[in-house]
Amino acid sequence: MSQKLPPVFQHPVIQNAFDHLEAGRLDRREFIRIAALLGASAASAYALVGLPSPAYAEGSLPFPPDDSKAKAGGVFKIAMQVQKLEDPATFSWTQSSNQVRHTLEYVSMTGPDNVTRPMLAESWSASPDLKTWTFNIRKGVMWHNGEELTADHVAWNLKRWADPATASSNIGLSIITGMLHDTGKKDDKGAPIMGLSDGAIEVADKYTLRLHMNKAVLSAPEDLYNYPTAILHPSFKAPISEKIIGTGPFTLAEFKVGDKCILKRVSKTTDGQDFKYWGGKVYLDEIAYYNFDSDNQLPAFASGDVDGVYDFNVEQVDLAKSLPGVIHKARTAQCICCRMQVDQKPFSDKRVRQAIAMTVDNSTIKGLIYTDGGDVGEDHHVAPVHPDYFALPAMKRDVEGAKKLLKEAGFEKGLEVTIDVGNTDGPWHQTACEAMRDQLKEAGVNLRVNVMPAAKYWEIWDKTAFGCTAWTHRPLGTMVMSLGYRTGVPWNESHYANPEFDKALDAAEATLDVEERKKKLAAAEKILQDDAVMVLPLFRPIYTIVAQKVNGYEGHPTQYHQFNKVWMA
């Protein structure tokens, strides 16, 4: 009989996860993640499994504890692209969210340890079937205009994300899709129009928000730290750069797209009161982002212009190692997906797609680009870093098999195809495609690599028959599969439509038992891999560097900046 857990771990899914942990079928870190998602405190979960807890502030604050050696004041200068700030719900880049991350805050906050803690919510709980989530909004959180944050304000944001007219990518998050229903109408593209279900968002009282879903959702708190889910004041009008009302310790003091974004501490509210920040001590006086394209960030650091960079490319690792500074590397699920549209010739023939996938050796490409770090892709988009990843048997290169398939498909004399590449994450995209081109030659496939500016690529990313698209890190495998491969979803760039796959994914999402969930996701992984929808050569690590005088900085797998406890020596 399994050990009965203390009342703080009362949720049945936590008990189930603990049983798996005891049986050796669940990793301790994954248990902590699940326990925290279901409302238990991260510190008690760390204690329960006997892992040293990373230092965190006492109480329910999601930040590291105060540092007795910390010096208040100073400016932290970071090289990053300074992007347009229009509507935070439609941000499509992490950089723009970082520009306002210390002004606009989130309901929850996922730390560098991948554990999600309450932020603007003080706590949360889920019903045993994971269909009803209750968020207790933190009391005493002050907006920059002097008002207090309430559950109504958060509800306003959720409703806005669920409205298709907002064009927010948040609509694809499980927390939102779980509250939508099919209205029976079709849009101009023939896709069903989804609407927010009546009563799905319930404001129980001033500080209590209850969400009612039509399916089990485990990731609700994680979803609420997705970068476009920053909580806005209901008076918001785009562009946010002109008038920003947040709850964070900093506000926009100076902003010029493509130049700089300067954040300074808030001391007074717009109605003249003293501003009291809910999150405890903050050391920096100013956070200053200066615009540098990705290739120029490290040279700017080398020149001493900035104290840190957003990221640097794998080609710059040697240069970074030669500089005085602290390099942070994180394992992620960021990748390129060379996907083929299954309804466009010649990729409409499954044998052609399979031949291409069989000829490409992902491990060689990964080794060529990332000699240190990174994971080999398995052509199904779930990464080893995902907690719900299931390792399928290793893929083997089979050139002869590919030739046979191409012959059957009528391409015995060779096949000419073009892949569009935008290098949206750096020139390594092109390197990967060129390596694919060389490998594909052996099977008689002549691949033309069509390189275009990143901005141009984003115009055609979902239209080109064969394209190399960068996908960012998402905390769960089910999340990325739901966003990219479910029939008819907006970001299904491969136009893949397979009821069997949808069913397998539904089954995985609805399974609360952690081990069972992995097995069910394995079925979805296998279907996608067998259907050869994509060549996904690798999952990349991310690199960043900060000066030695920067204290309290921790690299985050999603490149989210969390500077509340950063201080300058």
Partner: protein, 316 residues
Amino acid sequence: MLKLIGSRLLQMVFIMGVVSLILFAIFDSDKFKKQIAVAELGGFAVSALSDKDYQAWLDKKGLNTPFYVRYANWVGAVLHGDLGKSFEKNEPVSGLIAERLERTGVLAFWVFALMIPLSLTFGVVAGMKEGSAQDRVTSFISVFTTSLPEIATAIFLTVIFALTLKWLPANAAMVNGWDWRALVLPVLTLVLYDFGYVARMTRASMAEVMSSQYIRTAVLKGLPYRRVILRHALRNALIAPFTIIVLQLNWLLSGVVVVEVFFQYAGFGKLLLDAALFGDVYVIQAATLVAVFVAVLSQIISDVGYTFLNPRIRFA
């Protein structure tokens, strides 16, 4: 002369009208509207929008207004000094253009200040004695520096002076305020690239003059060589380089994109590139007007200068 300037200005207005109309028509296409939407909302968000919501977004941005109406409105506004508002940067285009022109102006000033005396001196000295050692050395240096693309020169200079010797900053973003040191590498890159071209042209012009009969006569008359060069040869030899140097104004305005982007110098060229990638039609329009203005202005300066340098040229 006044007639010439008048006709050039009329030409300028005509070119501005035609170019702006063509640009407006091009940017009215669905493709470019989509480009703005993608740049502003992101590729992922645009593909999630239904056609109805996309059209509503275009309405909000004023992009659904017929292009001739938008064009007429824009021309009216331009005549009142309003160049519109940048889609990307959310600020008035006139302020943006003025700020960037000033920065590129500073860059251009220093490039000219170094490049003109340097290239003229080397060109004249080389052309004085065709085939001499000084001619061969100058020609070699000129061909070498000009044949190197700006991006290669920029990389070499950065590696040597910024990353290895650490004498100069590697970029010219000037995040800590205006810094003359940061301007050195971009200026040097442009000077090296342009110097060879102007020096070669000056050399050719000087060599041609030096082989003309009136110079030979002057030498045979026993005039001091120094006087032959300064009083007789130089004035004629400088006509061609003068035209070329004035025309470099155009190159310095919009041809410096590579250098401005490489060194992260926020000038006119970088603004133009950003605007083109974003599909920021009002910035592109304004930048085009400025480019046409500078092109015509440089032609006028060149024509007027010609008449002073060569009295045989008269404009009817």
